[in-house]
Amino acid sequence: MNIYLKNILRFCVIILLQVFILNKITLHWFTQPAGALFNPFIYPLFILLLPFETPVWVLLVLGFSLGVTVDTFMTTAGMHACATVLIAYLRTNVLNALMPRNLSEYINQQPSIKNMGWSPFLVYSGFLMLLHHSVYFSIESWSASSFGPLLLKIVASFVTSMLFIIVYILLFTRQNVTRA
């Protein structure tokens, strides 16, 4: 499939998944009455899965538009956009550190378990997702007074988001089944 078409489609699918399914899930950890409510986010996965050689300015513009779209649905003016632009900016540096060759040598490939292997991909997505969640929830609470609950919220949301991301990757990657 054409790489542009594929990414536009993925943008729509991820937004729909996030807004209509994941936003409806509000879970408790350590409930009653001080339970940390949290909400898993998978939409940053769109930025994480763009092809290796995407220039930084394209990443930034796409990150901003992705964030603003999610903000529009969730009435959180600019908070998601802020966190997403940050991870879009840092994505290239993280990938450079993790990949053995220069990024421009991977033509028409995207970060995935097949191209990177399990542990580099998990480190890559885990680091950026943790950054995204910390920035988002810090901006949302906008104070250091409730540090404990904030930390709990970040960790709980991060773990759930990563679970959903792994499920998404396993579902939407074409498996090369070798027939015996």
Binding site: F38, F64, T72, T75, A77, G78, C82, S146
Partner: protein
């Protein structure tokens, strides 16, 4: 000049990054001033339409549950109507006459008039620091900023953003707004909500001699003319002594179940403008 362009080309990504982040912070700052810019909110027409389609689907599935809640609301209203119906006003005609003709010290006051408008909830959040509810009524149907919103079981919030067909309600699960509340005996104090206890409200610093039991109801007051009086906010769930200042802290469970809100009533106070105008007079002098 050439050097300048070279520098811009070299740091283009950094400049773009900084620029976009600044735009984000401007958006955030705007939404925190309560001035009501609804560019980025779900009162926006495009997202409103998408949410409406989705609610239409879920609405059908949960018709049964909704029927029950409307039924219980009807029972409550019927009880109130019956209380008035059983009053035999004809026999009391003497008192009635006296009121009109002779006793000039008694005045009949026209109380605040409310217009009730029903609205369907099309989007709802419960887990943020400030939670918003989107409804399918907007300025076209007479909704304006600042109107209070209740459900069939209790208080919900206040209209914050309005577009032509949709409106966003800032629910009372928010640290932006405090609700003036009173107990059964009339002691009043404002309730606070904080994100550390997402399912409860707090009434801080109640005097220690006050006798409160678990399960006592807490109602709104008419102070500030934001909310209509005597709407149920919640019930006392836990009473705690604050050891630092020796005062009581009450934890309330909200009367409205914010997780499955489907229909709300938007209240317009017809006399609010007049009251506000009068109350502002001393401030001007």
């Amino acid at each position: 000049m050439r050097n300048f362009i070279l520098i811009i080309r070299r740091f283009f990504n950094l400049i773009l990054f900084a620029g976009l982040e600044i735009i984000c912070f401007i958006l955030i700052a705007h939404s925190h001033t309560l001035q009501g810019d609804d560019i980025v909110s779900s009162a926006n027409t495009a997202t409103g339409l998408i949410y409406k389609k989705q609610t239409d689907l879920f609405y059908y599935i949960s018709l049964g549950k909704m029927n029950d809640s409307l039924l219980s609301d009807n029972v409550r209203l019927r009880k109130i109507v019956d209380q008035y119906r059983t009053l035999d006003t004809l026999r009391d005609s003497f008192v009635h006459k006296a009121l009109v003709n002779t006793d000039t010290t008694v005045h009949v006051i026209k109380y605040a008039d409310y217009v009730y408008r029903t609205a369907k909830v099309i989007n709802n959040s419960v887990d943020g620091i400030n939670n918003y509810i989107t409804i399918d009524r907007g300025s076209k149907h007479g909704i304006a900023k600042g109107m209070s919103v209740i459900s069939s079981t209790g208080l919900v919030g206040r209209v914050e953003y309005v577009s032509a067909n949709f409106a966003c309600i800032l629910s009372i699960l928010s640290n932006k707004q405090q609700v003036s509340a009173k107990l059964k005996d009339g002691t009043f104090k404002s309730t606070v909500w904080d994100n550390e206890h997402p399912e409860t409200f707090l009434m801080k610093d109640m005097p220690p001699e006050l006798k409160v039991k678990r399960g006592d109801s807490v109602f709104t007051t008419s102070f500030g003319s934001v909310f209509p009086p005597d709407v149920l906010i919640g019930r006392v769930a836990k009473i705690e002594m604050n050891k630092k200042n020796g005062k009581q802290q009450l934890f309330l469970t909200p009367a409205t179940n914010f997780r499955n809100l489907q229909y709300v009533y938007v209240l317009e106070n017809l006399l609010a403008a007049e009251q506000k105008q009068l109350e502002e007079l001393p401030a001007k002098k």
